[in-house]
């Protein structure tokens, strides 16, 4: 027990967390140089392509330190992006210490801080590491000042390294051994309590649970029970990741590893649940994770209707180790059956979509993302509305609140004007502006409605700063806004899937844009079709899809009038029939083009 060290690495994207993890694996001999696939911990293709970590991993290493003792080091990886906050808190719960990686040139960034706070909440020992000291822009002294000023750690504890060049790796590993405390000892005889902090589904072996044992001991053939789901299972196999799976006799308090029970149903082995003995289990489960609420929503529909069940299975499997993903069935006239999914943020949404498409080979249609609105009703109750079509009528509500984020934008100073212009268009509230020491980079801080950054905010920011700006955001709460529900009526009938909630100042513009777009996409029919955008009963924009010439004017003189009227009567009959069949059918591609409507396109 004294020789176990559980730790994780916290870093901002691009600050070099994965490279450091690889160097530590190499250094401790867990992985041979020649076997090394760049950035081994990022095992998903997606993670390597994007240079980010999404799913946490756990690796067990054996290391003989300078003090002559051999230690068992468990590195539990954490995602760097704030969208994955939830995962970070999970992996941190399995640790006693964390390495905080800071870029020697860029310094501490918002997301780093967010994750650091999570670590501090769990009383973890923090080892500050200043990475990329080999780069020309590196300024370790300035970073040390930041460490002291902004996070209140002793700057002398900071280790200067270059993970890329392999400088300072031994010092980091030694610091883990010396500074990170071992797990609390003497708990082996207590009833088992093991926290499931992650899991994945293997088609051959069923659910593989990642656990950290807090008390008691896990052995194969043991009978166990899940304390929340009450599910009883028998253990097939226990082991550790080295990083490959390696079978072990048992997992003891403080140890981190995997457990296979043969469970096929992912609902039986939930992340956050506590494993205990059966019978004679523990009385209380371990504290679970703080449940996070999804912030961004969109509809996901299979392009092949037959894939609906398969999509549900895939979502369930992803949800197994990502409880922050929510979904519920939804259907749309144009898109058929699908799911309304909730995500932590935009990146999370993209990752889930890509995983569904790559890992599950699903062909998906995603509707434009939206946020959840908090609606205070006239009768005093509060509703959360995730789907615009569910918004109660104006007269039944007092007001609507929308989620706001604190956005931090770094940009070279020549693009300040452009950034401010985008911010103005996006209803952003200016909070702060700080120049870097050399005066060439600027940090701009704004409060922005989350809904505003869901559309083309990022694209605009990149294009108007030639790709130089970086952007981070964190949720800061709900605020009252002058919001309205914009409905689209085709042939006088409201089309649910096209309703949107937006700020009233944008409603006219957006309404016009939507009806124009729809007009250009709807096929011409035997009769003309009005397309309207409405707020409540008020029409704010309208267009007509003109009919084919069957309805076009023609002459009408004396002899013609009776005949003309009879023609009109026949036409009316035809139209009545069409109304019986149903409303104007909106082709799927028209729907998609409208739902994915970007400003300026």
């Amino acid at each position: 027990m004294e020789q176990i060290r559980n730790f994780s690495i916290i870093a901002h994207i691009d600050h070099g967390k994965s490279t450091l993890a690889d160097r530590i694996l190499e250094f401790t001999g867990a992985v041979q140089d020649r076997d090394m696939q760049e950035q081994l911990l990022d095992s998903m293709d997606l993670e390597r392509e994007r240079g980010i970590t999404i799913k946490l991993q756990a690796v067990n290493m054996s290391y003989t330190a300078k003090d002559g003792n051999t230690y068992q080091l468990n590195l539990i990886d954490t995602p760097g992006h704030v969208d994955f906050n939830y995962e970070v808190s999970r992996s941190l719960a399995a640790c006693e210490g964390a390495i905080l990686v800071i870029d020697a040139a860029q310094g501490i960034e918002a997301q780093t801080l967010a994750n650091l706070y999570l670590a501090l909440e769990q009383d973890l020992t923090i080892i500050p590491v200043i990475n990329k000291i080999d780069l020309p822009g590196a300024d370790p002294e300035r970073i040390k000042e930041q460490i002291a000023d902004e996070i209140g750690l002793d700057p002398d504890d900071a280790i200067e390294i270059s993970a890329k060049m392999g400088i300072g790796i031994e010092e980091v590993v030694e610091a883990v051994v010396k500074r990170v405390p071992p797990p609390t000892s003497g708990l082996e005889d207590k009833p088992l309590r093991a926290l499931i902090f992650d899991s994945h589904y293997d088609s051959y072996r069923g659910v593989i649970a990642y656990v950290r044992v807090v008390e008691g001991k896990i052995e194969s053939k043991q009978k166990i029970q899940m304390m929340a789901s009450k599910e009883r299972l028998e253990i097939d196999e226990v082991g550790v990741f080295t990083p490959l799976m390696k079978i072990k006799q048992s997992l003891k308090p403080g140890e981190v590893g995997y457990v296979i029970t043969g469970a096929k149903d992912i609902n039986h082995v939930r992340v956050g649940d506590t494993m205990t003995y059966f019978p004679n289990g523990a009385e209380k489960p371990l504290p679970g994770y703080q449940k996070v609420t999804p912030m961004v929503f969109c509809g996901l529909y299979p392009t092949q209707g037959a894939d609906y069940d398969f999509l549900r299975d895939a979502l369930e499997k992803l949800q197994l180790n990502d409880a922050s993903l929510t979904f519920e069935p939804e259907n749309s006239v144009a898109l058929g059956f699908g799911f309304r999914c909730g995500f932590l943020g935009l990146l999370h949404m993209e990752i889930i979509q890509e995983r569904l498409e790559r890992e599950y080979e699903l062909d998906l249609i995603a509707t434009a993302p939206g946020v959840a609105y908090k609606v205070l009703m006239a009768d005093g109750q509060t509703l959360m509305i995730e789907n615009p079509s569910g918004m109660p009528e104006a007269k039944k509500r007092q007001h609507i609140e929308e989620p706001y984020v604190l956005a931090t934008i770094f940009t070279p100073d020549e693009y300040i004007g452009n950034v401010m212009e985008i911010a103005r268009e996006k209803r952003a509230i200016y909070k702060d502006m700080v120049y870097s020491n050399d005066g060439r980079r600027v940090k701009l801080v704004y409060e922005i409605p989350l809904a505003e950054i869901l559309y083309d905010f990022f694209d605009q920011l990149k294009s108007k700063t030639r790709g130089y700006a970086t952007f981070d955001y964190e949720f800061i709460g709900y605020r009252k806004s002058e919001l309205v529900k914009l409905d689209i009526l085709v042939n006088g009938e409201s089309v649910d899937a096209l309703s949107t909630i937006l700020h009233e100042d944008n409603a006219y513009y957006k309404g016009r844009q939507l009806v124009q777009k729809l007009r250009s996409l709807l096929p011409r029919k035997q009769f003309s079709i009005p397309i309207q955008a409405a707020i409540g009963n008020k029409i704010v924009a309208r267009e007509t899809v003109a009919a084919l010439r069957k309805n076009v004017l023609s002459k009408c003189y004396g002899g013609d009038i009776s005949r003309k009227r009879k023609l009109l009567e026949r036409q009316r009959e035809g139209k009545k029939r069409m109304k019986q069949v149903g409303n104007v059918e909106i082709p799927q591609d028209a729907f998609l083009a409208v739902l994915s409507l970007d400003d300026g396109k």
Binding site: L548, N551, Y557, G558, G559, S562, R565, R572, K575
Partner: protein, 371 residues
Amino acid sequence: MSGIYIHVPFCKHKCHYCTFYSLPYIREDMEYYISKILTEIELHQSDDARIESVYFGGGTPSLLSNEDFSKLISKIKGSFVVLEDAEITIEVNPESVTKEKALAWRQAGINRVSIGIQSFMQEELGKLGRVHDVSDIYQAIFDIKNAGISNISGDLICGLPKQTKEDWQANLEKIIKLDLEHISIYPLQIEENSEFGRSLDQETIDKLDDNMIELMQITHTYLENNGYLHYEIANYAKAGFESKHNLIYWKYKPYYGFGPAAASFDGKVRMQNSSSFAKWANGFSKEIDLASKDKKIQMAEYTFLALRLLRRGLVKSSFESKFGISFDSVYGKLIEELISYGWIIDLEDLYILSEEAMYFANQIFAEFLPD
């Protein structure tokens, strides 16, 4: 106030788009026709009917001889009160106009000529099956003006197979140069029982449909910019030269129709003479349009005819004095919906079609008919 329509059912040649009632021209038949129609006019003799318009349509009324005209016009003047400033129109084809005929028409009291130009392009005229050529158009209009007839209307047909925007624009420019008082624009209707309807396949017809609205929009803009008011869906006029005769139809006023297949309206009920020459000649048998007696039908007809007049529109007070019920209480809900679509414009005391709705007006008109 009312009007008189005289149908002259004879043609030397049937045009490819035509579905009007017509017979091949034989001089003996024409003489028989004249004797019969004089009788028919006399039968309706009335001292109360004040006639503000007489219209000779066809067929080909220019096939009537000078003598025929004199007989017809004096019979009409002897049977009804024809107002001093009545509009007396003859419908003509360019090839049938001569200097002598134009002078004779003028002398017989005709003060307006409606000329079927149809196109200024020889190739298009060929397609339409017209027998005149482009030079006939200019010669005819020169002769009519020289004869002292100063109110001339020209017809053009729009949306022919293979007609481009440029072709159509060229036609419009040519008609503007003629400085006529009135222009009628007809979109080519491919009727099933016309020569066109038989010869074109559905795909070709659908293609024609595609650019029709655009051609109509070009027409609207171009003619309005050149001093012609778009006063009715298919008609443009210089100020003060709106067709009195056609206004009678659109304003739901009564009119007499004489000759085979001619329609008439007594202010309440519509009827039509038999389109069989023999039946007409042997007792002037006519068919009554029974539906036109129904008040709901009458209100619908009144409304869609009024809405055809793009500037005047539907005058609410006139509707109410005609039917004894307010327009809004009959059609309020429908009108509100059409206004919200942007298809009808509310000008307080009247409703008019919006510019965009002109091009699919039939669909809107159909909405007013009872279920």
